[in-house]
Symmetry: C2
Subunit: 358 residues, 2 copies
Amino acid sequence: AQSTSPTLDIAVIAGDGIGPEVIAEARKALKAALVPESASVTFTDYTLGAEHWLSTGETLTDATLEALRGHDAILFGAVGADPRHATIPSGLIERELLLKLRFTLDHSINLRPSRTYPGVATPLAKNEDFDFVVVREGTEGPYVGNGGTIRRDTPEEIATEVSLNTAHGVRRVVVDAFRRAQERRGQLTLVHKNNVLTHAGSLWTRTVTEVAAEFPDVSWDYMHVDAATIHLVTNPQRFDVIVTDNLFGDILTDLAAAITGGIGLAASGSINAEGTAPSMFEPVHGSAPDIAGQGIADPTAAVLSAAMMLEHLGLQTAATRITDAVNAQLSEWAAAGGGEGLTTTQRGDAFADRIASL
Amino acid sequence: AQSTSPTLDIAVIAGDGIGPEVIAEARKALKAALVPESASVTFTDYTLGAEHWLSTGETLTDATLEALRGHDAILFGAVGADPRHATIPSGLIERELLLKLRFTLDHSINLRPSRTYPGVATPLAKNEDFDFVVVREGTEGPYVGNGGTIRRDTPEEIATEVSLNTAHGVRRVVVDAFRRAQERRGQLTLVHKNNVLTHAGSLWTRTVTEVAAEFPDVSWDYMHVDAATIHLVTNPQRFDVIVTDNLFGDILTDLAAAITGGIGLAASGSINAEGTAPSMFEPVHGSAPDIAGQGIADPTAAVLSAAMMLEHLGLQTAATRITDAVNAQLSEWAAAGGGEGLTTTQRGDAFADRIASL
Ligand SMILES: CC(C)[C@H](C(=O)O)[C@@H](O)C(=O)O
Ligand SMILES: CC(C)[C@H](C(=O)O)[C@@H](O)C(=O)O
């Protein structure tokens, strides 16, 4: 959309807890990054999330969904109520808002980059840089909500969960992952559990084998999901692009966020590969009710998510302006002994100032 | 069985690659540990595994399975062919031998302890001891082999995997986990993904809630599987007993093995809770074809698996003799700069000597 209009039309779902706090800083970064471009940005706020459900009983109406479709992209904060004040049925908001957005807007590519940052300590003893991206399928697998229960609350209860995997869904995420590998270091790893989940595993493995033929400059290997967790903590350097299903991707990307030095840095994009609906960009972290309202949340993941959004919208230079600024700023804080005591706003302002200076 | 007979009747499936090398050392440890007891041990070897399949086309016959049922317990090495010499259909041996044993012998409790050992470096920067056990369900979940494929090899292919979860299966592993927590530090964590896998997740969560009422001295909490990977690398000290399903348990225990300093130390037991068939004890590591035949495999995990077997058979003193000896020996090697250059036999002999001296 931005090529015909110089104005990016962004929907903002700031959500609950620290969501609005970090999204405010992402907006500053976005605006600053666009100043040297011909493009500008408008934000339209949508009030959604756990607090919204508590006061209205609404998760995501058809009308809101329709309105969201009209924007170029969605910037998402975090959702989830404070368990000290309210009890919400487990997973309700996640399923009826977050997953509903991903599924309805056909966010087939859930993109989660993971890298070390200057001066950010990781929980790993081995102090070596790494930089990989997990390309997680976003619209099928065990996430489809297909399952059931019989004889509930009896000793004969049976509960099922069905993982649905289609050639269509697997192929598009695999093609996307190969393209990204081609632009990166040319190495792709398929992660699955094809020795046990033979039907889905076979579809994934055959698809990667087939698509690989179209990308002779990318080398690929296969790894079981259990083994992948070992490699992530012992040798994350070995990964360039990981492609995997929805559930394995969920698990591996939290681990990936942990080994980079924390979920406070992990950005993500839920991408509609065909461009039939807006893509969505969000920090991987949650609403963190324990620190909400104190102005101390780390806005880095939200700011980096904004950069991913710009890149997705074709504004590569503006995106790089943000990532370069974040890098430089984190280095500066590291050199000064870490930015531990800084508030959310101080961090966000520092990022914005640095972006403006680039 | 050992209370009526002073002789433990153990079936041995040494398997492929380094399996026979490490199992030889586990046998030495077992024998040494039993010397001061009234009990002794006989071993019956079963030739099974990838090499056996390559030469006979057999994975596990009904006759062999029947024979295995007659023993007090099974000591299992590792299975898997050398990919440089033979191509075996992916997962065939795993499913038709290893998983078939677990399912047919009703190994409902897959027990995987994880702890730091003196002088063994972990990949984590934070150098603090931890000690927890994962109690993984072993007979259902996504491992049941229930799924299918339609329109294979067409753009309309659909592949499914069905996770089956029963009140019976979940309850027995949950009860087992609470019992273990009671004998340990009284803290149990249920790991699942109940915000997405709502049917299975609800069964697990309700079962834990119910069983918890019978164990007022155990406190428990719930954690999503993705979050659990973060806690395992940032704060494994927080865990005492983790109870979880078959697939999550598979993933978490490889990660758990990695953070203890490697899969070379991880022991496991596949336990028949009702005592209707022999339980099986095996190192978590595989057949490691890359180092097989060189006599350099670490037998520690196999030796510790033998200790778990003794404990399961009611020979707690003999079991402790092994674990104490391993601890002391690892400490000694650590003090002497690590036992890096030692052969499998040197390690095994050192363990056996030390066991004999206790
Ligand atoms: C909140 C939850 C439904 C979600 C998921 O499982 O995908 C989250 O863990 C994530 O990774 O974005
Ligand atoms: C070999 C494989 C089938 C097995 C499993 O997935 O259970 C292994 O990974 C394990 O953890 O024992």
